[in-house]
Each structure stands twice: as structure tokens, then as C-alpha cells.
Amino acid sequence: MHVPDGFFTASVSIGAAVVAAAGVGVALRNAKQELDDRTAPMAGLVAAFVFAVQMLNFPVAAGTSGHLLGGALAAILVGPYTAVLCIAVVLLVQGFFFADGGLTALGINITLMGIVTAAVAWGVFRLIVRAAPNRGAVVIGSFVAALVSVPVSALVFAVLFAIGGTAPIDAGAVAAAMGGVHVLIGIGEGLITAVTVSSVLAVRPDLVYGARGLARPLVLRTAEGEQVVAPQQQPAEPKPLRPFLVGAGVVSLLLAGIVSFFASSSPDGLEKVAEDKGFLGQAADHLFGGFALADYGDVGGIPVGVAGVLGVLITLAVGLGIGYLVRRKQKVAS
């Protein structure tokens, strides 16, 4: 999913680069809270881990295989800000060293795969874990967070494509195709993320950032009786959550707004293509002068954005349903 040079117009590339720079700046400032002075070596090793894990192919269906994107996994394991930094660094290294992903498209790639994925995953994850703070919710939350983050990132791609893609493909068709394919990818991503998080939880629960504060307090059983050792001061967890959730909510609302805007004004997109076409018809006459120009093709016809809005609603319903179930189960247990 690494976008190369020339896929988006220069203005969209620059806009996304500004968003990416701002996002990475915020992440730089806040990552120190997540990892204190260990930030550089720890985030570096986690970035290497993300890079390695992206090479771990898993079979999806007969013949095809997918690989982990790792945004949700990194956000849950090391915290959202560190995750954004790690993925930004992975993308920078892939762009400059491996020529994977265009240099002018770096902003788009960081925005899509780093910021959107980590933000959405962390928001969904916190919603579920806050509803039911226990280990089961952490694993289920990882699954849902990863499952939701992949198609949302694909839909943001479709929105960017509708604004400034260079290919004349119906924006609704792009949204439907990208959303559909990435729901499937998201299921694989969710499964792998959930099992990975649960296996880390089983061995080193203290390493899972998303599960901090869930450990039961230490109980000393002595001759005098039981004594609960007060848990150590947890790092300031509640503070950064609320602005984050508000921000994630605003972003998703904006997204829905933009998608529905394109849904209601799909003739605009077609008009734009027609304008280009009038201009292009002349250019094409010179090159393909000998060919008879065929009829106007109309491909797509899927209402723009409807698929996207439906997808958001369905994922929201699924997330809320699971959160409700987990919460009820916990109430029964306690």
C-alpha cells in the first residue's frame, strides 16, 4: 500500500505532508511521556520490529497472502505516539533506502499508515478497554481496533483520491473497492494483532502499553493476615485520553462529512473529469489522431461514499455491541 510518486497531485501531496509533519511533531512531544528517556533506543527497536513483522506473510485464502501493516499492533504494544513515530521512521527508511514508496508521497504514506491507523486503532481500543478493564477486553479490543483501523485508512485513501488522485476512476468505485478489500485484510490484521497481543500479555504483561493499570494489586499473605500492597504510581494515564478520543471523534466526523459530501455531489467529480477530458481530447487528437474515439464509457455507478458511510456504521455497531457484551460479562463475573 506504499503510494509511489505521481499517484496524487502535487497539492494533495503537499497538504498531506503538512498533516504528517504536524502529526509527527505532536507524536515527538508526547512519545517522551510513553517511554521517558528510553525513547530513542526503544522506539528504534520497535521500528525494526514493525519492519520485520511487515515481512511476515500469512496466507489469507488459496494462493494469496497478506502481511501485517502493524499500525494497530504498535499502538497497543507501545502507545499511540510512539507507534506513529515508529511507523513514520519505517516509512522514511523504506522511502529513502529501499525506494519503496515515493519521496513526494511520504506525507501521504505517513498520514495514511501511521497517523490514521494508530489514531483510529488507539481510539477504538481505549473505548473497549475502558468499558471493561480486563485482559479479555484487551485482546478483543486489539482485534476490533486492528479490524477497524485498516478499512478506515483505506477510506481515507479513497477520500484523498477523490480530492487529488491523478487517475480518472470513479471515486465511489475506489472507495467501494478499497473498503471491501481492506475489510478482508482487516480481519487478518485483527486476528494476528489479537493473538500477538495476547501472547505478549501471557509472558510480559508489563510490556503491553494498552494493558497498563490492569494488573491486580500485589497481596502479601503473612502470619498477620493479608495485606494489599498499594500499586505503584501509575503514569498519568487519564489525562491524554480525553483529548485523544475527542480528536479521534472529530476526525471520524470530518471523514464521514467529507465522504457524504462526495456522495451528494458525485456529479462534481464527473464534471471535473469531463473538463479534463475536453482538454485531453485535444491532446489525444495529436497522439491518437488515427484512432476513432469510442463512446463515452461509464464505469462505476456505485453511489459515492455510501459504501464508506455504511462501513463506518457497521464497524461502529460491531464495536459497540462487543463493548456491551464484554461489559455485561464482566458484571456477571463480579
Binding site: M42, L45, V89, I169, A284, D295, D298
Partner: protein, 250 residues
């Protein structure tokens, strides 16, 4: 991206291109990519000119064409996508060899293929003539945030270690008869990923303690000065300037 691949990215040499300070090359390649992306897609000859410029740089740097071609495989997924655009594109259509293709789609396909290919070649030449460590020092001189540079430094330094650790786990899995056939095998791979994370994270903790015991205070010492003079900036700037000249002349 095979494991242990990143040593082959850099080709040691002592040419004009190799000797240029890394920050000059980074700026030159980024400026070149921007000029390429800003070029209107109808200017066919401009793209030929850009390719000629890159070929000149490769010749000066003595990077063999085979090295560049082999590494261009990363572009493949989007090349496949580019070939699909004319078939599913909107707009007026022409028939080529019995296949109805969108004219606008053909232009878009050409646009993506040409720009992506030029961008990939420029990046490959940059990586082939600049040591990874030098590239990071150059980024630091360009005022990239210190923390980001350090993260990238650690990532590159330990990438092989992490990849090796992953390879050992793969050998262990396969020597016990593991074969990833369908999605039911995914949990086993996920457990490997979990183990890999714990190993990476614990290694990070050890590295950090080792660095503290050697006097690390949050910034890496700069061992040698890599400042660039005007002549070097001009030499590196020749590529984007020539590209801009090609853009205005065609």
C-alpha cells in the same frame, strides 16, 4: 525486501557522487522528485530528459544498470495497478487490439508509471551512493528532529539483529514441520510475532542500559564534520536544476 538485504543497497565507491555530502544529495533528490511530480503529463520529452539525467548520474557514480533494474522490483505492485487504470477508467474510450480503453486512463497510467519510475530510480541512486549512516547524519544537518534521527539510527543498526532473530524462529518453525497453508496457521505466526516483540523490546532495554553506562545523555556525539561548501551544493544541485531547465525548455 529479503532479509539482510540492506547491505546491498550501498555500493562502495569513490566517485564525485559518492564524495558529495549526504545532505546535498538528499536535498537534490527531493527537489528532483518534486520537479518530476510537478511536470504536466503531456510533456513526453521532458520525462525522457529526466531519464537521461538520471542515466548520467548513474554513469558518473558507476552504478551498473543491472543494480538499478534489480531493485526496481519494489515498484511492481503499483505497475500492475497502473495497467488496470485504462481498463476501469472513466471518460471517452478507444479500442486498442480489441480492448476498450479509457483515453484519460491511459494518460493517468502513463503519468503514474513515468513519475513513479523516475522517483524510484532517483531513490535507488541515492541509496547506492550514500552510506546509511551518512544519510542519517545528512538528515540531522537538515534539521530533522534529533529524536527522529536517533530512532532511525537505532532501527537501521538493529534491523539485521531483529531480522536474524525472526529468521531463526522461521527455521525453528519449519524444522518442526510447520507450513503456512491457510488462515488457521495465522495464530502460530502471530505467536512468533509476539515473541519477536518481547525479544526486540528487551534488547532495546539492554541497549539503553549499556548506552547509559557509557555516558549517553540523550544525544549522539558527532564524530566528524560533514559540512558542505558552495561548490558541493552546486554540484548536487546540478540534477534538480537541469531537470527544471528541461521542464521549461520542452
Amino acid at each position: 525486501m529479503g532479509a539482510g538485504h540492506h547491505h546491498q543497497l550501498y555500493r562502495a565507491g569513490d566517485t564525485l557522487v559518492h564524495r558529495l555530502p549526504p545532505q546535498c544529495k538528499l536535498v537534490a533528490v527531493a527537489a528532483f522528485a518534486i520537479v518530476v511530480v510537478a511536470t504536466p503529463r503531456e510533456r513526453f520529452w521532458a520525462f525522457c530528459g529526466y531519464l537521461l539525467l538520471l542515466a548520467t548520474v548513474a554513469a558518473i557514480a558507476r552504478v551498473p544498470p543491472g543494480h538499478v533494474l534489480r531493485r526496481m522490483v519494489v515498484e511492481l505492485p503499483f505497475v500492475l495497478f497502473a495497467f488496470a487504470i485504462p481498463v476501469i477508467g472513466l471518460g471517452e474510450r478507444i479500442t486498442v487490439w480489441g480492448v476498450s480503453l479509457s483515453v484519460d486512463g491511459l494518460w493517468a497510467s502513463w503519468n503514474i508509471l513515468a513519475k513513479a519510475t523516475l522517483g524510484v530510480i532517483a531513490s535507488i541512486l541515492l541509496a547506492a551512493t550514500t552510506e546509511p549512516r551518512g544519510m542519517l547524519l545528512g538528515a540531522q544537518r537538515l534539521r530533522m528532529p534529533q529524536l527522529l534521527v536517533q530512532i532511525a539510527t537505532f532501527m537501521l543498526r538493529y534491523l539485521d539483529v531483529v531480522l536474524d532473530s525472526m529468521r531463526r524462529m522461521r527455521v525453528a518453525r519449519e524444522s518442526r514441520g510447520f507450513q503456512a497453508r491457510d488462515i488457521r496457521q495465522a495464530p502460530i505466526l502471530a505467536k512468533s510475532a509476539g515473541a519477536l516483540f518481547i525479544r526486540s523490546y528487551e534488547r532495546g532495554e539492554r541497549v539503553h542500559l549499556a548506552m547509559l553506562s557509557r555516558g549517553y545523555t540523550g544525544s549522539m556525539p558527532i564524530l566528524h564534520d560533514i559540512s558542505a561548501d558552495v561548490r558541493q551544493w552546486l554540484a548536487a544541485g546540478a540534477l534538480p536544476l537541469a531537470a527544471a531547465a528541461v521542464l521549461f525548455l520542452t
